[in-house]
């Protein structure tokens, strides 16, 4: 039995001659959380619409658990829970009514609707809002109702388009925990602008820019790129760069604008200890030493910028 839950092959979508998404291919296995990153208008939402059958791809195919989205849309859609950018809510209903409708339309059998609604509410922290009209809920709660309707039928694949928009920090933490929990039994695809979020909840990351995949890999690769082999040191009586280069493992030194020095070292040879010893014995006046982390933002900008330059 295959564990592939999502298979996208050469997805392309053309809007009036312009390729909004071109040649995007990826697979997702059961239990994985995939983060979808990209600047505005990069084609994240378009890709998600194609994955959920809301938009027909101009080229390529989507398979959900081996069911083709174009040939058997009903079977494929039954396996997906989707939260679009704007949560699709019928404002005239109460939370309970709306979730019951969502469950019914997603083919939950009549006997199980009550349990499904109850479970979805518990998971999204909506139990106290049961009888409230969706219209009167705050944006954060509406967002939660949106997530609840996406997971109500216990789908194999949950697709969330910017799920944490408009939530307060505590809610965001809850939702992240929920996404992690979902990742255990389902596959989750989420798109977001918030980069730390990707690091926290995702196993896999895809960066999409101008409709093209510019990065596709496990989160560890991105983390490695982020940490690099660099140290930032602060010295009161900085010696010449040649002096620093003599320390074992140090490859290059460059001064930073704020008076600190960035030291690159050979991979695998952390010279931190040697640097500290040298600093003490030679009286450089060491006041700071840190591993230099390129922020995820920088990696992101690098990746998307590279593509623009190419």
């Amino acid at each position: 039995m295959t564990t592939l839950t999502v298979e996208a092959n050469n997805l392309t979508r053309i809007y009036g001659g312009r390729e909004a998404v071109s040649d995007v291919s990826f697979t997702l296995s059961k239990g994985e959380v995939l983060g979808f990153l990209g600047p505005n208008g990069a084609g994240k939402s378009t890709t998600m619409k194609m994955l959920t059958g809301n938009l027909a791809p101009s080229k390529g195919s989507v398979k959900i658990c081996d069911v083709d989205m174009i040939e058997n849309p009903k079977e494929a859609k039954a396996l997906i829970g989707y939260l679009p950018e704007t949560p699709p809510l019928y404002r005239e209903f109460t939370v309970d009514e709306f979730l019951a409708i969502a469950a019914r339309l997603h083919g939950v059998s009549a006997k199980h609707i009550k349990i499904a609604v109850q479970r979805a509410k518990e998971r999204c922290g909506l139990t106290e809002m049961s009888k409230r009209l969706i219209e009167n809920l705050s944006k954060g709660y509406q967002q939660r109702v949106g997530i609840a309707q996406a997971i109500i039928h216990n789908p194999m694949v949950v697709i969330l388009d910017e799920p944490t928009v408009g939530l307060d920090p505590i809610q965001i933490r809850d939702i992240r925990a929920l996404i992690k929990e979902l990742g255990g039994e389902h596959s989750v695809i989420l798109s977001t602008h918030i980069l730390p979020e990707v690091e926290m909840v995702c196993d896999h990351v895809q960066i999409i820019d101008k409709g093209k995949l510019v990065f596709n890999g496990s989160i560890d690769i991105l983390k490695q790129q982020r940490h690099g082999n660099k140290l930032v040191i602060g010295l009161n009586n900085a010696p010449s760069h040649d002096e620093l280069l003599k320390v074992a493992g140090v490859e290059s030194v460059e001064p930073l604008s704020n008076g600190l020095l960035r030291v690159r070292y050979v991979a695998g040879q952390a010279p931190a200890e040697a640097l500290v010893k040298a600093a003490v014995s030679k009286g450089w006046g060491l006041h700071q030493i840190n591993p230099d982390q390129t922020s995820l933002e920088d990696v992101f900008v690098q990746l998307t910028y590279q593509d623009a330059a190419a």
């Binding site: 059958g53 009903k74 409708i101 339309l105 997603h106």
Partner: protein, 248 residues
């Protein structure tokens, strides 16, 4: 699945006071006409008219009530049908239906059946109201049945057309106006060509096909016309929604 969508539509009509208000107001109007009809019947038929020219009470009152009903529906159906799809398009809930395991045909049929079942309540209430005459007179049930069936088919055709125009736009009001103009045009188109009974334009008129029912005549040709009318517009709606998916 179709019925699940229909159920959702019905629920949404009754979720706000609008559904109840429309039912109450229209029923009030029909009731008033009905009462007036009964009063007038006694005045008109009390002796001034020769016995041979007298009509039955069912026909006398039925004519005025069903005449009013078909006219009122011309205004109320566009108001009810306008939000079916355009409102969902505007508040982005169409995605919800598209992502659910439903075919487009099921969505469209569900919405259509939802609206028609709401309107059926009105049509049935008129029928029941006229049946109450049976307590004092002999109601012509055949005539009544033909009228109820005719009104029902007319209302269903209105709904199908309203549904289609609602799928064209994201503005409910625009949908209502277009639907109203189109329906009005189709209703009165035969007025312009009264001379030529066999004209094609004449044949397209909704009124032209409703009239036999109003006279108590059930003609399969007319039933077929209404069914074709409904199927045409429902198919067009499905195609319109499919274009959404294809063109984005």
């Amino acid at each position: 699945m179709i019925l699940k969508v229909a159920r959702k539509e019905l629920k949404s009509v009754f979720a706000s006071p609008m559904g109840w208000v429309i039912l109450a107001l229209l029923q009030f109007g029909f009731g008033t006409y009905f009462l007036n009809g009964v009063n007038e019947y006694f005045e008109v038929m009390s002796g001034a008219i020769r016995p041979a020219e007298r009509t039955g009470v069912t026909m006398f009152i039925g004519q005025s009530v069903f005449g009013l009903a078909s006219f009122v529906m011309l205004f109320s159906v566009p108001l009810l049908s306008m939000r079916l799809i355009s409102e969902e398009r505007r508040s982005n809930t169409l995605t919800f239906l598209f992502s659910a395991p439903l075919s487009l045909t099921e969505i469209v049929l569900g919405k259509f059946i939802g609206l028609v079942s709401f309107l059926s309540i009105l049509v049935l209430m008129i029928g029941v109201m006229l049946c109450t005459l049976n307590a004092w007179a002999d109601v012509d049930f055949g005539y009544l049945f033909a009228n109820v069936l005719g009104l029902w088919l007319l209302v269903a055709s209105f709904s199908a057309m309203g549904l289609y125009f609602s799928s064209l736009t994201a503005q409910p009001v625009v949908a209502a106006i277009i639907t109203f103009i189109a329906l009005f045009g189709l209703l009165i188109v035969d007025r312009f060509l009264t001379g030529d009974e066999t004209s094609v334009v004449n044949y397209l008129s909704l009124m032209h096909h409703f009239q036999p029912f109003a006279r108590g005549l059930i003609d399969t040709a007319d039933i077929t016309y209404f069914l074709l009318f409904i199927i045409t517009f429902l198919t067009l709606t499905v195609r319109r929604l499919d274009a959404d998916r294809l063109r984005g």
